[in-house]
């Protein structure tokens, strides 16, 4: 009995650690981005051709080195966080909301609605992302908002499919039948009974998707389809650093590290949230 207790205690402590680390990482990075943007709007954009490609920690005041135009990597990394975080988080959130609503409706009602939504989703999955992106940007133009819309449009499908699958397996469970037997309204069944029971995997998928979106933003920017390439972003910095990879590693390593730490923090928070939402305390997926 006692060791079981201590085991669940260690588990609990681990969960708390997960939460603290997650908050530290995500909160720290967000705070740094916001404060720097506010206090030093110019940092990382000043060109200094006399100090090109300075390695990190070699000259005073230049912690993480400079790039090919002599711009401070630390400054750029913090500034670049703004675009990357906005794109990553907003597009994932938008896709989750759209995907959940479509998936719930499609899975619960079935029939014609289901066929329509799912075939539409299939068509969209069949289109290559780049083709979709080029068409989309060509029609409605580039920029941050449009890129977020593009990412939402291209990614809601996976959430819809995941949610629909879970709804199909939950729909015939007795507790859903029981709610229907009592006369509970459909909207309440969807959002009060079904949603909390399938949210776990959705959160996990979402935290993974944030990272993916940050990288997608960079490839779009690289292709000239995204945000103005002069505004720094992590993905953009990675792409720029690629050509110097063998001579100046710091150009791509630090923005890469920034993405890694953000994603790690979000994953930790996501796992913590998933477990908190599950009262049975068993870990799923």
């Amino acid at each position: 009995m006692t060791t079981v207790q201590t085991r669940s205690d260690t588990l609990k402590r681990f969960k708390n650690l997960e939460f603290i680390l997650g908050v530290l990482l995500v909160g720290g990075i967000t705070l740094a981005v916001v404060i720097t943007h506010w206090l030093f709007p110019d940092s990382g954009t000043q060109v200094n051709l006399t100090q090109r490609l300075v390695p990190p920690m070699t000259e005073p005041g230049i912690w993480l080195g400079t790039d090919a135009l002599g711009r401070d990597i630390l400054g750029r990394a913090i500034l670049g966080g703004e675009i990357s975080l906005k794109v990553g988080v907003y597009s994932a959130l938008g896709a989750v909301i759209l995907g959940i609503v479509m998936g719930l409706i499609s899975g619960y009602y079935g029939g014609f609605v289901d066929v329509f939504v799912m075939r539409f989703a299939d068509v969209q999955l069949a289109l290559p992302f780049i083709l979709l992106a080029i068409t989309f940007i060509a029609v409605i133009g580039g920029g941050l908002t449009n890129m977020i819309i593009l990412l939402i449009v291209s990614q809601w499908v996976q959430y819809a499919r995941l949610v629909r699958g879970s709804v199909l397996s939950l729909r015939d469970q007795e507790f859903i039948l029981s709610a229907r037997a009592i006369g509970v309204h459909d909207i309440r069944i969807l959002f009060q009974h079904l949603l909390p029971n399938l949210i776990g995997p959705v959160i996990v998928l979402m935290t993974l998707n944030v990272a993916n979106n940050i990288l997608l933003e960079s490839s779009l920017t690289f292709l000239g389809l995204g945000v103005d390439p002069t505004i720094p972003s992590w993905g953009g910095m990675l792409a720029e650093g690629r050509t110097y990879l063998q001579t100046a590693w710091w150009l791509s390593v630090f923005p890469g590290l920034a993405i890694l730490l953000t994603v790690l923090g979000l994953n930790l928070l996501g796992d913590w949230l998933r477990d908190i939402l599950d009262p049975t305390g068993r870990t799923s997926l």
């Binding site: 507790f175 039948l177 029981s178």
Partner: protein, 633 residues
């Protein structure tokens, strides 16, 4: 017309010619000897200091309720406990193999693999999941044979046919090519037995082998197992929670409770003179078919509970005279038909239909319990769901308090959902795991706006929890913190919350342990007395039905074959199917054990091709209020 052939069932030629050889043991070392076995889950002890012996040709039954450690014991004998994350922490399991005695606990995994299947075989509870769905039956049996014995492919096939014939499966040749999903549950369980017997094991471990099966199929499997054991001289370890099955099959009984053996005795001794108070309480809780003979009305009996080293009776005996048959019925069902389309053809056409409910008519009066009994596929649950408006009917007329459902407005249907409540079978699935039980109980109150104000609702929830025998401060707990019986109480509290007139209990007691079942039966009968509730009690368990109901309707293939007062149906069943059903129920009394003949055949399927309509049964009054369909012999 309704003879056994029509039912797809027939009595086999008498297989009882052999003399019954029981309790004849040669004085020799036991085949399998479990000596102070202990098993732990992490640091939780689930089996403590368990010892018993199994001799050749003997059947030892291990009985106990959920959590008693009986399944863990069986897995320990197979040395498969690690699959459950448990480990054997002490004791010995001595097996008399061909090469002398070996301690199974000390064997290497490699040595165990040779023993498993060859010397000790096991059959599991769930015939649906214990066969691999992607291999044909023949493939799976041949695999076992080739693994353990020197068979060529051809000789293994021959042996497989022989084995299938051994478990009384006709048409064994063609069966080899079929896949598990093409067989019924009873046939699959027989295939499992055939596979277990493939290498002529000395010991067969059967873990609840008949629990998932209907009574007639259960009776079939038990007969086959008994005959095979006699022919092969095997020892059988039979794990079950069903005292009726124990009385039917066991020679020696081990009663377990919370991981400890509380009593061990020969079966007749145990039933006649139970020593331990737990055994006494357990035996008292078992509903016995025939216990209500000679009485017209259901009766509430005191509960026998354990109190230290003694047993104590709680409650009083009372006759349940609550049915108000003079009043207008709550529900009147006339010619109800519910069919489902299946097997959509290539172009989306319907080729077959499930005739779930066919021309069923009945009514339920206030304060009355009407039981719907029948085996799986008889359509009894579909009727419940149709009444609760969870399922559209194909045709027919349903009236609630005189008003036809078809003419009801949205608001009236909503009111109906308040007055009729449903209690589901599985207490582990019928409560939302993400909501507190307080929320679940309050949900009907909010949905029907029965009370206003958080305080009033909370008070009512506490009242309801108390009403079903739970502590009112448990409202903010989640379902997983409760046991199965407590959860079923919560489900009942949820059903009571909207002050219904009728509760449909769909196998609501089937998933519970007998002692819990007895408590819930009394709770339901008390509630009926106090709140004037009517129940539609859907069940396959004849003994529970006998105890609880005022009237009984027996269903077969979607139609009612017999309906009448409980006493009439149980004491003078007029239809052959009712008689069959009653005779298949295992009787919890070893003194009444008979070598009953093998019941042949399977439960026929309600799926029919389009145009092949089932024949409509005409019910005739055989006695006052007692109707049965006419049979041509």
């Amino acid at each position: 017309m309704w003879n056994f052939q029509r039912l797809g069932l027939e009595l086999a030629p008498d297989s009882t010619e052999q003399p019954v050889k029981r309790n004849v043991y040669v004085a020799q070392a036991p085949l399998l000897s479990i000596q102070s076995l202990s098993v732990n889950f992490g640091s939780n002890s689930v089996v403590r200091d368990l010892s018993f012996d199994v001799r050749a040709g003997q059947t030892v039954a291990i009985v106990g309720e959920s959590g008693s450690g009986k399944s863990i014991t069986s897995l320990s004998i197979m040395r498969l406990v690690h699959t459950m994350n448990a480990e054997i922490t002490g004791g010995r399991i001595v097996f008399q193999g061909d090469s002398g005695a070996v301690d199974l606990v000390a064997q290497s995994e490699k040595a165990m693999r040779r023993i498993r299947g060859k010397d000790i075989a096991m059959i599991f509870q769930e015939p649906m999941t214990s066969l691999n769905p992607v291999y044909s039956i023949g493939n799976q049996i041949v695999e076992v044979l080739r693994l353990h014995e020197n068979h060529t492919r051809a000789s293994a096939r021959e042996e497989a046919v022989r084995l299938l014939k051994l478990v009384r499966l006709s048409d064994a040749e063609s069966l080899l090519k079929r896949y598990p999903h093409q067989l019924s549950g009873g046939m699959r369980q027989r295939v499992m037995i055939a596979m277990a017997l493939a290498c002529k094991p000395k010991v067969l471990v059967a873990d609840e082998p008949t629990t998932a099966l209907d009574v007639t199929i259960q009776s079939q499997i038990l007969t086959i197992m008994r005959d095979l054991q006699r022919e092969m001289g095997m020892a059988v370890i039979f794990i079950t929670h069903d005292m009726g099955v124990v009385a039917e099959v066991a020679d020696q009984v081990v009663v377990m409770r919370e991981g400890v053996k509380v009593e061990e005795a020969p079966v007749s001794e145990l039933f006649a003179r139970p020593q331990h108070p737990y055994t006494k309480a357990l035996l008292a809780a078992v509903p016995k078919l025939g216990s209500m003979s000679g009485t017209d009305l259901p009766r509430i009996d005191p509960l026998v509970v354990m109190a230290g080293d003694e047993t104590r009776s709680v409650g009083t005996s009372r006759v349940q005279d609550t049915a108000r048959t003079g009043e207008q019925p709550i529900v009147e069902v006339t010619d109800l038909v519910t069919r489902f389309n299946v097997n959509k053809g290539f172009f989306g056409g319907v080729s077959h239909r499930v005739h779930a409910v066919e021309n069923v008519s009945f009514s339920i009066y206030p304060g009355e319990t009407l039981a719907l009994v029948g085996e799986s596929g008889s359509g009894k649950s579909t009727i419940g769901r149709t009444l609760q408006l969870l399922q559209e009917s194909t045709s027919g007329d349903i009236r609630f308090s005189g008003k036809a459902v078809a003419d009801m407005t949205r608001a009236e249907k909503m009111r109906l959902r308040q007055q009729v409540q449903y209690v589901f079978q599985d207490p582990f699935a019928s409560l939302d795991p993400r909501k507190t039980v307080g929320f679940s109980i309050a949900e009907p109150i909010y949905t029907h706006s029965l009370l206003t104000g958080k305080k009033a609702v909370q008070k009512r929830v506490e009242e309801l929890l108390e009403r079903v025998g739970l502590s009112p401060d448990k409202a903010d707990r989640y379902p997983h913190e409760f046991s199965g019986g407590q959860r079923q109480r919560i489900s009942i509290a949820r059903a009571l919350a909207s002050r219904p007139k009728l509760i449909i209990a769909d196998e609501a007691l089937s998933a519970l342990d007998v002692s819990i079942q007895a408590q819930i039966i009394n709770l339901m009968m008390d509630l009926q007395q106090e709140e004037g509730l009517a129940y539609l009690f859907i069940s396959h368990d004849m003994a529970v039905v006998e105890k609880m109901s005022h009237r009984v309707a027996v269903m077969h293939l979607g139609q009612i074959v017999e309906m009448g007062p409980r006493r009439a149906v149980f004491e003078s069943p007029a239809h052959s199917y009712t008689r069959r059903l009653l005779s298949a129920v295992p009787v919890a009394d070893p003194a009444r054990r008979t070598d009953r003949p093998l019941i042949e055949g399977d439960i026929p399927s309600p799926v029919r091709a389009i145009g092949d309509e089932p024949e409509r049964l005409i019910l005739q009054e055989v006695a006052k209020d007692h109707f049965a369909s006419i049979e041509m012999q």
